[in-house]
């Protein structure tokens, strides 16, 4: 499994917030949903847009791409709606007292 890398401080991502970071040069979006932190590929697979700027549904744990509305699961990166036809990458998340760490799940 790939190494965990610290990508942000915990204070930078309070509950309800999102953040764009990088892992080995790849864009990753961090999402704090009701205290749980999720990390998925940050670029929509349909057209270029950053998912962390999209609408997050706390109940369904999904994010809608701000450009055309394609919906992705924050838990596993699966696409739930068109116009996206591919999933985004998903990352494991670890949190310590200060930092948020991520590593690709695949």
């Amino acid at each position: 499994m790939a190494d965990f890398v610290a990508v942000a401080t915990r204070v930078a991502l309070p509950e309800g917030a999102t953040l764009a970071v990088q892992y080995a040069g790849d864009a990753v979006g961090l999402f704090n949903v009701r205290g749980t932190i999720y990390a998925i590929g940050n670029i929509c697979t349909h057209a270029y847009a950053e998912l962390h700027q999209g609408y997050v549904d706390d109940d369904d744990c999904t994010v809608d791409c701000p450009l055309h509305g394609a919906r992705f699961s924050l838990k596993n990166g699966a696409h739930f709606t068109l116009p996206a036809v591919r999933d985004v990458r998903v990352y494991h998340v670890k949190v310590d007292d200060e930092m948020i760490w991520i590593a690709p799940a695949d």
Binding site: D64, P66, H68, G69, T81, L82, P83, V85
Partner: protein, 471 residues
């Protein structure tokens, strides 16, 4: 010999009549959160739908009007969103018996021939007047087989789980500005579910009528064809002519599951003051087949690109469309095919005729994703320009990211040849008849796919449009 299109007023008497406005409710002009909340409350909707509407309103307000760019159109600048009534309720609830429909509305649909068509050759009928459906019925033989054919408002109440599962999954609110607008203020439309293995072998039809001036009609249609099932749905649209603009902005979402077959036929004959901005998209899974048969006559501006997302091996999509643009009209129509699985097939056939200063545009997209090996695509666009004042543009986008693909694109633009006319006239046919005959022949690949009654009607409409084309 001279062939000159003139500005003959189209005989719109069958469609152009208007009824007195006698409504249960009519919202004020303009769009606001209050209008959306009021609409949702009047319909007694669940909280999640109100939330979805408000989110869509926010998206609509933030998205710029697409006047330029790949899919933009500067004609949209003439559309004033503040001058439109977004919700007009004409009756109390959909009737299942024509006798229960308010008299004036019933008269409208009788003049349009809908009850007669239902008796003769339809499995079910929905009739929408302004914002809501006033009549809806399905023959008992089909309901016994588990077929569901409801107006969309009723479906939200009676089929809440299936509705929530599929609503907005094919066309999200943020897909484009007009999909967001529709999601914010949608009302009426059809909901169809055909269970596994059921073949509805005679058509279901919905008819959409705008009567009021400065009216916005935003029907929402959701169709689910389950595994191995098949159906054919027909929609017709008309409105009277007013001096100010009205807006029709529908969203149609279709899901065709494994081995299913579905055809969606549109015969649209809007008055020349209607902005017709429609998003239609289908998703076809393994070995499924989806066909859009799309006839566009009338409207001030139509922007419509029916799409099929081919998501399973062996899926097939087809768009067969015609557009006729007369004076002051722009038919900006096309198709989108997205291949995302191996051995998928798509066919786009687009035919357009422009006359008297009208403009037609074919705008289309073919996208092949990596891994869609063996995809076969055939795109064919033919434009006929009848005079020097008229225009036609062809804007095909093709994005192929897979090497093992067969793609053919063919486009022709032309005028009616003098020798064709001469040949027909030498057989004793008048110039006007000859011209009409050539145009109908040009459209024939489309009309032959329609049920007989619709083909006759469409030919008659085109003949009426063509009258006086000889100077």
């Amino acid at each position: 010999m001279s062939v000159d299109a003139n500005d003959l007023a189209f005989d719109y008497s069958k469609y152009g009549f208007r009824q007195e406005e006698n409504y249960v409710f009519k919202s004020g002009k303009g769009l606001s959160e209050a209008v959306v909340r009021e609409l949702s409350a009047m319909k007694g909707e669940p909280e999640w739908m109100l939330k979805r509407r408000l989110q869509a309103l926010d998206i609509f307000n933030k998205k710029p009007t697409p006047v330029d760019g790949a899919w933009g159109n500067p004609d949209l600048l003439d559309l004033n969103y503040e001058d439109i009534h977004y919700f007009v309720r004409a009756g109390d609830k959909p009737a299942t018996d024509w006798d229960a429909v308010p008299e004036e509305i019933k008269n409208t649909f009788e003049r349009l021939g809908i009850p007669e068509a239902e008796r003769k050759f339809l499995a079910g009928v929905g009739a929408q007047y302004e914002s809501e459906v006033v009549y809806h019925s399905l023959r008992e033989e089909w309901s016994k087989l588990g077929v569901i054919f409801l107006d969309t408002d009723t479906a939200l109440k009676e089929q809440p789980e299936m509705f929530k599962q599929y609503f907005g999954t094919v066309i999200p609110s943020a897909d484009n500005k007009y999909a967001a607008l529709n999601t914010a203020v949608w009302s009426g439309g059809s909901f169809v579910y055909v269970p596994k293995g059921v073949h509805v072998d005679i058509p279901l039809q919905a008819y959409f009528r705008i009567n009021a001036e400065n009216m916005g009609q935003f029907e929402r249609t959701l169709i689910i064809i389950d595994e191995g099932a098949s159906a054919h749905y027909i929609e017709g649209c008309t409105a009277p002519v007013y001096s100010t603009n009205s807006l029709h902005s529908a969203v149609v979402e279709i899901i065709v599951k494994k081995g299913g077959k579905f055809r969606y036929t549109t015969i649209q004959n809007w008055a020349n003051n209607i902005f017709n901005l429609v998003t239609k998209r289908a998703v076809a899974y393994e070995d499924a087949s989806m066909e859009w048969v799309d006839g566009n006559i009338g409207s001030r501006l139509t922007m419509k690109y029916p799409s099929v997302y081919l998501m399973g091996r062996g899926a097939r999509g087809e768009v067969l469309s015609v557009a006729y643009a007369g004076k002051g009209q722009h038919q900006d129509a096309g198709a989108k095919m997205v291949h995302n699985a191996p051995d998928t097939t798509s066919v786009i056939t687009n035919k357009s005729v422009s006359k008297g200063g009208g403009k037609t545009t074919y705008r289309g997209l073919v996208k092949v994703h990596p891994g869609a090996t063996g995809a076969k695509i055939n795109v064919n666009c033919d434009a006929l320009i009848l005079d020097d004042k008229s225009k036609s543009d062809t804007i095909p986008y093709i994005e192929v990211e897979e090497s093992k693909v067969t793609l053919a694109h063919e486009a022709t633009v032309g005028r009616i040849g003098e020798e064709q006319l001469f040949y027909l006239m030498s057989r004793g046919i008048s110039e006007a008849e000859a011209l009409s005959m050539i145009v109908l022949g040009f459209m024939e690949p489309f009309t032959r796919e329609l049920p007989m009654e619709y083909a006759v009607e469409l030919n008659r409409l085109i003949q009426l449009e063509m009258e006086g084309s000889v100077g």
